[in-house]
């Protein structure tokens, strides 16, 4: 019995020992996921941040902003679109979109800059421009955001410090300056360069440089109400540096259908009738006999063009966006020459140079018609809307033509907040007393980030909105 016991004890001891040391090899192969990689290449990250940017600039943020900005109307075809029509946005309404900006684009843009700027300044420069686009849309909609600390994860203890919009806007200028420096370096400084992974420009850094300058102008001009003359000077200087002379270098969002479906098209396919072009916008086109009408607008149920009033969402039989922007692989503008010319017009006018303002305005309108329709504007249209002079040009005219030309771009909502043009009537059935001027700070920031600036009221304007 004793022998048995001893033998048994030894046996157990051996087995336990053998077990513990052998366990590691038994277990270790299955600790690491076979489903996802731990390391990736800059090409993969570049494609990722671009797609994230397309999701932000061609998704819910843009749709709801265009409702607030009066270009489209939410209808009763969907309860969610009706909520938007009633300005019923809460702190949870845009959590997804907030996440796409920071956890989709910002974190990986910063990864690219950190990991690859030494080997490839071009990758870094492009990532910086894309970062500016993302922080730009965030600050335009939410005001204060964490410019320096956003997307840095555990490095900032997962609680990024917010910075005022004023600071964010100035840091965006610096960021774009850095981008311009990187993009201006010689090709030899790059161990590798972007190609097809750069869907926007296929690695063409000259085009990225132009885009960076126009973006600088866009955000300099954001301060039109705060520093009218200084912002005008800067805007004009950046536009000068951009060297943009036509629409050939425009930045477009790229879609391929399928998993890469144009989101205006995908939305109408999945959520048919939820949004229709507004009556106001349709009237702007139809009343002007605008040659872009049949490009911007789809036909309504009666084969014509009509819009849904923003204060009566019951009619979903009106026009949706036309195939120009709403078909499976249609590209959608992001930063364009047309916008640059309108910025130039506005800045000149503010700088008390109505002549150059009128010239820029006319050029912008004509460039838009050419780009959208593929042909030059008809003479009567040019006479009526692109023949302004120093004596006739007004901010109202510039902003209305920009409103039309930048159809379906989120810029229109910022422009409306900044200038009050066009005049929009709030939906009387809304749950707010006016049109939202910003988005409430997302719930996750309120709950989990003690360093966040929390603003809950959508009627509180952002810093640059001082009109």
């Amino acid at each position: 019995m004793k022998t048995l016991k001893t033998t048994f004890n030894i046996a157990v001891f051996c087995v336990v020992l053998a077990g513990i040391s052998a366990c590691d090899s038994y277990l270790e192969d299955d600790i690491v996921s076979p489903n996802d990689p731990a390391e990736v290449t800059p090409e993969l990250l570049m494609a990722n941040v671009q797609v994230a940017t397309f999701a932000s600039y061609c998704g819910q943020l843009t749709r709801q902003s265009l409702v607030f900005g009066g270009q489209i109307s939410g209808t009763i075809a969907g309860s969610q679109s009706q909520e938007i029509a009633q300005y019923n946005i809460t702190e949870i309404s845009n959590e997804n979109e907030w996440e796409v900006i920071w956890a989709g684009a910002v974190v990986d843009c910063k990864n690219i800059v950190r990991e690859f700027s030494g080997e490839s300044p071009y990758y870094a420069g492009i990532a910086q421009v894309i970062l500016a686009l993302n922080i730009g849309i965030a600050t335009d909609l939410w005001g204060d955001v964490p410019f320096d600390e956003g997307g840095l994860g555990n490095d900032v203890d997962l609680k990024p410090n917010y910075e005022s919009q004023q600071v964010v806007l100035s840091k965006m200028q610096t960021l774009l300056d850095d981008a311009i420096v990187n993009l201006s370096k010689p090709l030899e400084d790059n161990a590798f360069v972007p190609g097809a992974d750069d869907m926007i420009f296929n690695g063409d850094v000259a085009k990225w440089l132009q885009t960076a300058w126009i973006l600088k102008a866009r955000y300099a001009n954001r301060l039109s109400a705060i520093d009218p003359s200084g912002s005008a000077t800067q805007t004009l200087s950046y536009l000068q540096s951009s060297g943009a002379t036509d629409s050939g270098n425009d930045a477009f969002m790229i879609f391929f259908g399928g998993n890469a479906n144009n989101q205006w098209d995908a939305f109408e396919s999945n959520r048919q009738g939820y949004y229709r072009v507004s009556e106001l916008f349709v009237n702007l086109l139809v009343n002007n006999n605008d040659p872009r009408t049949s490009f911007f607008l789809g036909e309504d149920d009666n084969g014509g063009y009509s819009g849904t009033p923003s204060d009566d969402p019951s009619d979903a039989s009106t026009s949706y966006l036309g195939p120009l922007y709403a078909s499976p692989s249609a590209p959608v503008p992001l930063v364009t020459y047309v916008e640059a010319k309108f910025l130039e017009a506005e800045a000149h006018l503010r700088a008390s140079a109505p002549g150059p303002a009128a010239d820029a305005h006319n050029a912008a309108v004509l460039a838009s018609v050419l780009q959208v329709t593929g042909s030059a504007a008809p003479a009567e249209f040019e006479d009526a809307f692109a023949s302004e002079t120093a004596g006739t040009i007004t901010q109202e005219k510039i902003m209305i033509q920009k409103y039309i030309a930048l159809f379906a771009q989120i810029e229109c909502y910022s422009d409306w907040r900044r200038t009050g043009i066009p005049t929009l009537a709030p939906n009387p059935d809304a749950i707010l007393t006016g049109i939202p001027l910003r988005l409430p700070t997302p719930q996750s920031e309120r709950l989990y980030n003690s360093n966040a600036t929390v603003v809950g009221d959508p009627l509180t304007p952002v810093y640059w909105d001082q009109n």
């Binding site: 052998a22 999701a55 399928g258 048919q272 749950i431």
Partner: protein, 1043 residues
Amino acid sequence: MKFTLTLAMTLSLLFFSHLALGQTVTYTGTVSSAATNETLPGATVIIKGKTEGVATDLNGKFTLQAAAGEVIVVSFIGMKSKEVTLGSTTNLTVKLESGVLMDEVVVTALGISKEKRALGYAVSELDSDDLNRSGSQNVIQALASKAPGVQVIGSGGTPGASSKVLIRGPSTFTGENQPLIVVDGVPIDNSTTQSSPRDYPFNANLQGVNNSNRAIDINPEDIESVTILKGPAAAALYGARAGNGAIIYTTKRGKMARKGVGVKISSSIELSQVNKLPDFQDTYGPGINGNSIDLADPGPDERYDNAPYFNSADDVAYGTPNSWGPSNAETGAQTFDNTDSFYETGVAFVNNIELTGGQENSSFRLAIGDNRQSGVIPNTDFNRTSVRLTADLQATEKLKVGGTANYIKSSGTMAQNGSNLSGVSLSLFRMPNTFDVRNYRTSQGYNNTYFFAYDNPLYSVNENPFTSDVSRFLGNMYIDLDITENLKATYRIGVDTYADSRKQIFAVSSNNDDLGQVGQINENRLTGNQLYGDFILSYTKSLTEKLNLGVSLGHNFFINDFDDVFSRGRVMSIPNFYNLANTSDLYSSNYSETLKTFAFFGNIELDYDRWLYVTLTGRNEWSSSFELNNNNFFYPSASTSIVFTELWDNKPSWLTFGKVRYSFAAVGIAPEPYNTATYYVTPTYTDGFTNGLTFPYGPINGYGISDVLGNPDLKPERLIGNEFGLYVSFLDDLFSLDATYYNQTSKDVLLFVPVAQSSGYDSQYTNAAEMVNKGWEFQLGINPYRDGDFKWSVDINWSTNDNEVTKLAAGVEEVNLEAAFASIGSFAIVGEPIGVFYGTKWRRDSAGNIIIGANGRPLIDSQTGNIGSWIPDWLAGVRNTFSYKDLTLSFLLDFRKGGDVWNGTYARLNNVGRSADSEDRERTYIVEGVTESGEANTVEISAQDYYRFVVGDAGGAAEEFVETVDWVRLRDLSLAYRLKFGEGSKIGFIDITFTGVNLWLSTNYKGVDPETSLTGAGSNLNGFDYFNNPGIKSYKLGVSFTF
């Protein structure tokens, strides 16, 4: 290669454990009732202190190998167990007296049998009658309302739909909350898996079909008994899988020493019907503002750029989902009872053939069961064929071997459920009553519907079937070796392997494909392979005359491989030809997972003079879901039982038996694999309205850092339980009461701790939270008439579980558990029960009055919050069983008090003007509340505005739709008659049984049967009803013969 190691270790244990053999003899015997002298078939005979045993055959006879001097314990349900010391007489006659349930033996963790009186923790036991009376073909659903502390949540009445089981409430946030399911000592896969590709950005549980929980593959006819190990102490030997308890199914086996072959044939037919639907209005037709809107043109209304097969230039009317039109009396429109036209009577045929037999040293059971069931929703079904062979061989006096091979073929056709444009209830319930659901196809065969965005539900069930076809093999074998009189070794190994071949098609013109009416095929192949083995060495010894010791040591290993391959084709070239080659947009993704664990465990039992019992267990477990430096954990438990009636010299005669028990345990719940690192993923960017943008993006691939931060320091979650129990029985078990109080704290609960997304991440998987489940469980048995022709027994179970989240992560007071709907989610909030509904609320003043806007509608608060808990206040079951001679009537009343359900269906039916409430629309409404300046609201709003914006989901706060649900239901009723034949007859007996399920339901809930789950057993969401498929009631007639 991985398990050669384990095998080697097992073998080494075998070798080292010198084999010392003793002398055994074959004993035979007959067990009968002392009161009636009737023989007792199915009585158990075990050798005291060992895990093995035999059962008596139909004539009450048994044969057993044992050594003289050993003690056998003979027990039978409802009888006092009897101990017989074996001597020279090898032919025994054992007479059992009725009463004293506590001397029975029960199967516990790792297959160890124990006397009930020795248990220091609560278990519940069910036998095959209990399962049969449920009328369910799902061995999980069959447990409903039968044991205190056990909550079963079916997900609807569709055939094959999953049932979720929770014991003592949820103990984890993100992982598995359901107990371990064990069949014959081997854990089996009971997962419920939704089919979804990697680029699907949403919670796949919210839509799709009601998939099966894989335990549905087990044929209930094969089950002999069920033991439910409720607390952590009971299940402690299962270690990191014991946190939610364990349900142990023991299957039927052949009986040795019964010469010849016994045959049992049973057959039944069951009819099922919908048991409850929401109430609808039938006065008003389609339209808005009282004006009529034409229903959709026949055929699809879609943009046709991808779809050359549509030729519908006339398609302009989109139709409407709204029934706010003029009254049908006014328009003279013909109306239809569409729910009546749609639902069918489901029919099920269940046939079983069972052969059992044995020789002196061997036995077998071969059973074939076939179940064919069609549902109340047209073109839904679930079929299962199971072939199970079990054989046991007493190879030598010392060596017993046996095994089971079980092949199962399960297949089903399922209907779209929930938030789904092809959803059956969604489209059917919203359907204006001037549309006839039966006209579901256009002349070209396309979807004909009333509103362009929804499928006609008949089109959906006929043209968009989801099919699942499972082949599964369950096999196990064991070797029992009596090394010496006191030392015994058992080795057991089991496999569970299945392949589930699934196909979902969406016909051209159906709405639920991803791109819009262009047709889609999803081919999904799931395979699961589990391998489990354990080795147990057990030693028993009487240390003194009164003190007995039992020690077990062992190890086990577990390997689970899961593989999911998904292929999708979209944009079909030829309508109705369902091959991937017929599509122009192809996508494929796969997911694999391997989990390995390995453990050593030990169990020490002490029993002193049959009144004091102490059990200590320990288990050290290694798992591949942790990093190597942090991958093993120890799980202890201790329990004791004190039979105080043994100590009480002058105990009153009416007190038959009494014991108190206490247990403590710390067990675990392991994290899902692959959470220790932060990986790069192919992201999907979506705002929730479209399927978004994902990779490959056209021709280009991309990866981004995951939004979830991994955590190299992961530990298992700890469930620490304390449990007190009292069992008393009076007047020879005329009354018995089993009461349990437990307090279980889940510590280090893993959660995706939400982080501010501006950090670039949305969560980090961290051991941070704490949650407490505490509650009472009572089981009361009353046997007013036990002896004689007329018998009556009452079993009452009642339980309440109080759950509270006591801690989340630092700085986190609320966390979203699983994505649900935009307006309502499922949250953990400190100080509240787990999974509270979290959604929009009305804005209120300091006095709690709802604030009404100038337009007469209440305002929504800008912050969302807790608006209700799904956890019931209490659950109860009351079974009455009456028998007179061979006629038995049994019925189970099931009570639920409290617990909330979010009735998203009702919210939408109000919105679209289909609910019965919205019929009252020829008047205006004034919402009770105050204006922003504090005066009483006097603004009248139209009925349409009221039902849409206040009590409908076009603007109503989510809190408006959370209903507190009570019910009383006749869960089952069975009437059985046994026709007996004489000794000489070839036929043993014939049983004729009628079973009714859910024949009566009384509830305050405004929707379908509130025992419903949108998300099924594969999700930790509970209490969501958004156009869930309805529940059923059923009538079953069965007959069985034995030869």
